[in-house]
């Protein structure tokens, strides 16, 4: 059901709700009733073009008729006559301030008319009281637009997060959220570059941006510069370690471990650095060190699925399959789409001769792996190849 339909259904003027003034003259009263009857009829027939003149005539005769004012405002709004709608909505709202939907609609209309202040005020007031998901989302988006237009990105982001909490897969909300946080990042970077262009944080930001674009060498140089300026800069050792760890250059990979150790020295409860140190130890074949690091990481963050998974892996190499199995099951509980955990669990079941359970886990693994592969392909096709598709197709063998 569209927002328009929701509003129309809710605002449809019930004939019984009309309370006529005692002072109304008989002829006028008849005329009012006639307009009322026709307006109701046209609304039921979904003929707003005919209902509007009837409501306008009704309001001329009975300006205190709040329902008529509200209905007329709604109809004019949906006809796109925002300037016409606003006075009627305001009258209705003044008479009855808890008409939240009317206030939201008023805010939307004000927004369309460029009345930014009234738009924000009305939307902010109405928004918390709205209960219809779709309408609330639309109002929320309008409010986000308002915040964005006025540069109040933090408020916009907070509101987007709140909306996403109830509609986590809403594509338009997801995009808005992505855009807002990107803008916020850009804003912070710009501000920082003006406030402290040679600061450690500025180098850290530059390093992140460069790393994101695959410019490994300058990213590393910026991280190192940041560390030189401020060796205790929060997160810098971990970020550099992560970049080095994922490098294809063996020499750079070897430089990752000291960074994670430095991160841990700065913050002994840095769970992510412990996790990475565990992974380095495991790769080296040092199961004992890996076990210790992962165990500590998991103590610090019991809900870290990655820590559960990695500890399970090292337990497998230590032939502690029972504990490993529990951890893999926990990792899947935390994230059911963890295909690696499903595959690892299948391996354990298979070793125990639990063929049926192993096959089930293989099926789960394949399901989620396929899902992720598809997602990766979507990203690949959309991010990397957009704009190239036609020429690319010409380059591919038939």
């Amino acid at each position: 059901m569209s927002v328009k339909a929701i509003l129309l259904a809710l605002l449809l003027l019930p004939a019984a709700s009309i309370v006529l003034s005692a002072q109304t003259a008989p002829n006028k009263q008849i005329e009012i009733e006639q307009h009322q009857r026709l307006a109701t009829q046209y609304l039921r027939e979904q003929r707003p073009d005919l209902a509007i003149p009837e409501l306008q005539a009704l309001i001329v005769l009975d300006p205190e008729n709040i329902d008529a004012q509200a209905n007329l405002g709604v109809l004019l709004f949906f006809r796109g006559d925002y300037a016409g709608a606003v006075p009627h909505l305001r009258v209705a709202l003044k008479a009855q301030p808890d008409l939240w939907k009317i206030q939201a609609l008023l805010g939307l209309a004000e927004g369309r008319l460029g009345d930014v202040d009234s738009n924000r005020k009305d939307l902010e007031t109405a928004f918390p009281h709205l209960t219809e998901d779709k309408f609330k989302a639309e109002v929320g988006r309008a409010l986000i637009d308002n915040y964005t237009a006025t540069g109040d990105l933090e408020k916009a982001a907070t509101l987007a997060s709140a909306l996403l909490a109830s509609q986590p897969t809403d594509t338009s909300l997801l995009y808005i959220s992505y855009r807002l946080y990107s803008d916020l990042a850009d804003k912070a970077m710009l501000t920082l570059s003006l406030a402290a262009p040679n600061s450690a944080q500025m180098h850290q930001i530059m390093a992140r941006e460069l790393a994101r674009h695959g410019d490994e060498a300058p990213a590393i140089a910026n991280y190192r510069e940041a560390i030189k300026i401020d060796p205790k800069l929060t997160g810098v050792h971990f970020e550099l370690g992560n970049l080095l760890y994922n490098s294809t250059d063996e020499k750079l990979q070897a430089e990752a471990e000291p960074e994670f150790r430095a991160a841990l020295a700065a913050n002994p409860n840095d769970e992510k650095s412990l996790l990475m140190l565990g992974m380095i130890a495991a790769k080296r074949g040092d199961s004992k060190a890996a076990y210790d690091d992962y165990t500590r990481a998991l103590q610090l963050q019991p809900d870290d699925g990655d820590a559960s998974l990695e500890l399970a892996k090292v337990l497998v190499t230590m032939n502690q399959t029972e504990k490993a199995q529990q951890l893999l099951e926990r990792a899947i509980q935390i994230d059911p789409s963890n295909s690696v955990a499903h595959y690892r669990l299948a391996t354990l079941y298979r070793r125990q001769g639990k063929t049926e359970q192993a096959d089930k886990e293989i099926a789960e693994y394949k399901k989620y792996k396929e899902m992720k592969d598809k997602l990766q392909k979507v990203f690949h096709d959309m991010r990397v190849e957009s704009g190239q598709k036609n020429s690319d197709d010409a380059d591919l063998p038939k």
Binding site: E250, R350, P397
Partner: protein, 559 residues
């Protein structure tokens, strides 16, 4: 694992003896390798085509796309072993110089006449050469019924899957690639490596289905891929195929390595049908469920469990995988635990082999490397086009020690290697490694020095079983050593090892017992054999000949 410094005598050194052998083969290559088909050739076979007891060497060759479009061909080469450390080019006389745009090679005796035949895989099908027994070969591809295979064939392997005594043939296929419809170098994201424009493929291109040919026993084959359940309907990028009895039920199973896609492990169900159990067996993907760029395949009983584990080489940024065979078609990816993974990750690996480098009775692991993209150096990721080789010493406890830096300078020379074949070229009890490189000449490596361990070698002749005894298993017991190996066709990367089975015996001067499990189901047992001999065993007749080791030729090492 902390690398301990080895004493010189702890193990041999691998020396490059290529210059001494008189082999002057050059594999052609396109400097820019603008097309994937220009990066994949380079198989080498050790084949004793004249049955003089000394392995001869066949190198495949491949032209560039530019050459092919100009109608030019590349010449493969057969080198005859002169028994004195040198070889003679006999290509022209043999008639196998121009099979096709050659990729790889496998040996099998398809007509059971006792003379090993040669199958060459091509960009454009396969060529079957019948060994005429007089130093010449005849192309019998069409009359054998293999002429319809016209796709890009890569790894092939002979094996008698139905135990009728005739070697059948499996041919893996790679990309559906055509010279009249070439992808444009660097044109799209799948034609870039770390943002550097490179050749396209295989990713982004279409794969091609594999073929199984049943040997009809009359010199012809019939394609049975679909009915056997090995037709690869998804068209994965097949590179290497090997027959091996991986569950010890006496029937050869089939392992197919697919590049960037899940491997196949076809369990031989009998009755001519196979079931792909790769996922259930744990060899389809790595330990984390990720597909890898599976290239070369080595099989070996590196833990003395009488089960063949699988070593697979991969692309750079992936590790060479070691799948330990735990029995009943259960494998575990132990690459990290075994000490193989980490040092193999930077390289693009190809041919590989389990071979007893120091004759201590425990198979070691060797792999050759070389990147696909000549442009990789420009990517600034620390990777080079030419790469060193890697040697891992078996530690007798399920682990290997990387001794690549300690086993001589030769294997540290960076090359763009592809094929690898192992065999005792000079019948002196030392296993040579013959490496075919994509660009330029091959490299022949020989272990010199190290402990003076004993060894024994067996050549098998099937009677009821297929004549070359493919997939016969030999178990050797000497003191506390119990080793097992299998005669196999194909494998490594596009290559063929010596069909004789070599066992290091460490200090033992005698073999207590030799058990031969023939594909026909029969078994021969030999006892109390002196070490350091070559033995020929015929199915049902036991030992038919024995030969002591010859004195090794003197070699000049390079560098």
């Amino acid at each position: 694992m902390a690398a301990s410094k080895a004493t010189p005598a702890e193990f041999p050194q691998l020396i490059d003896i290529t210059a001494s052998t008189g082999i002057h083969f050059d594999h052609l290559s396109a400097p820019e390798a603008r097309y994937v088909v220009e990066s994949m050739s380079g198989g080498v076979a050790l084949i004793d085509y004249d049955r003089d007891g000394y392995p001869d060497i066949y190198f495949t060759n491949a032209q560039s796309v530019e050459m092919a479009l100009a109608g030019k061909k590349a010449k493969s080469a057969l080198y005859h072993n002169n028994h004195d450390g040198t070889f003679t080019d006999v290509t022209d006389r043999s008639g196998i110089g121009y099979p096709c745009w050659a990729m790889g090679v496998a040996v099998g005796d398809y007509n059971n006449d006792g003379w090993p035949d040669l199958l060459v895989t091509c960009f454009g099908g396969v060529v079957l050469y019948r060994n005429n027994g007089d130093g010449t070969f005849t192309d019998v591809t069409k009359q054998a019924g293999l002429g319809n295979d016209t796709a890009w064939a890569t790894g092939a392997s002979f094996g008698d899957y139905d135990a009728d005594g005739w070697a059948d043939l499996f041919v893996a296929h790679y990309v559906d690639f055509h010279l009249d419809d070439l992808p444009t170098f660097g044109s799209r994201q799948t034609c870039k490596y770390h943002n550097v424009p490179v050749q396209c493929g295989p990713r982004g291109l279409k794969g091609f289905r594999d073929n199984l040919y049943h040997n009809n026993g009359d010199g012809t084959f019939t394609e049975v891929s679909k009915q056997a359940g090995v037709d690869d309907p998804q068209g994965f990028f097949g590179l290497t195929a090997v027959w091996s009895d991986l569950n010890g039920d006496g029937r050869p199973d089939l392992f197919v390595a697919n590049d960037g896609e899940p491997n196949y492990l076809y369990r031989n169900d009998g009755s001519g049908h196979f079931t792909n159990v790769a996922y259930q067996a744990g060899v389809a993907v790595n330990e984390d469920g990720a597909e890898q760029a599976n290239m070369g395949v080595a099989l070996g009983d590196y833990m003395h469990t009488a089960r063949f584990s699988i070593g697979i080489t991969h692309f750079s940024e992936e590790y060479a995988a070691l799948y330990r065979n735990d029995g009943n078609l259960n494998f575990t990816d132990v690459s990290y635990a075994a000490g193989i993974a980490q040092s193999t990750t930077p390289y693009v690996g190809w041919g590989d082999a389990f071979f007893d480098f120091d004759n201590d009775g425990w198979p070691d692991f060797f792999m050759v490397n070389g990147h696909v993209y000549p442009q990789v150096g420009a990517a600034g990721i620390g990777t080079k086009y030419r790469e060193p080789k890697l040697l891992f010493l078996n530690q007798h406890n399920g682990r290997f020690r990387n001794i690549s830096q300690e086993a001589g300078a030769a294997i540290q020379i960076p090359q763009v290697s592809r094929g690898l074949a192992v065999g005792d070229l000079f019948s002196d009890g030392r296993l040579e490694l013959v490496v075919e490189n994509l660009e330029g000449g091959p490299m022949i490596l020989r272990p010199e020095g190290g402990p003076q361990n004993h060894w024994v070698s067996f050549a098998l002749q099937g009677t009821k079983s297929n004549r070359l005894a493919l997939n016969a298993r030999v178990r050797v017991t000497a003191g506390d050593l119990v080793e097992e190996d299998e005669v196999r066709s194909g494998g490594s990367y596009l290559s063929q090892n010596d069909l004789r089975l070599h066992f290091g015996l460490a200090k033992y001067e005698r073999v207590d017992k030799v058990e031969i499990f023939w594909p026909s189901g029969t078994k021969d047992v030999l006892t109390q054999l002196p070490s350091d001999h070559f033995y020929t065993v015929q199915e049902g007749h036991g030992l038919v000949s024995s030969q002591p080791a010859t004195r090794p030729p003197a070699f000049v090492a390079h560098p």
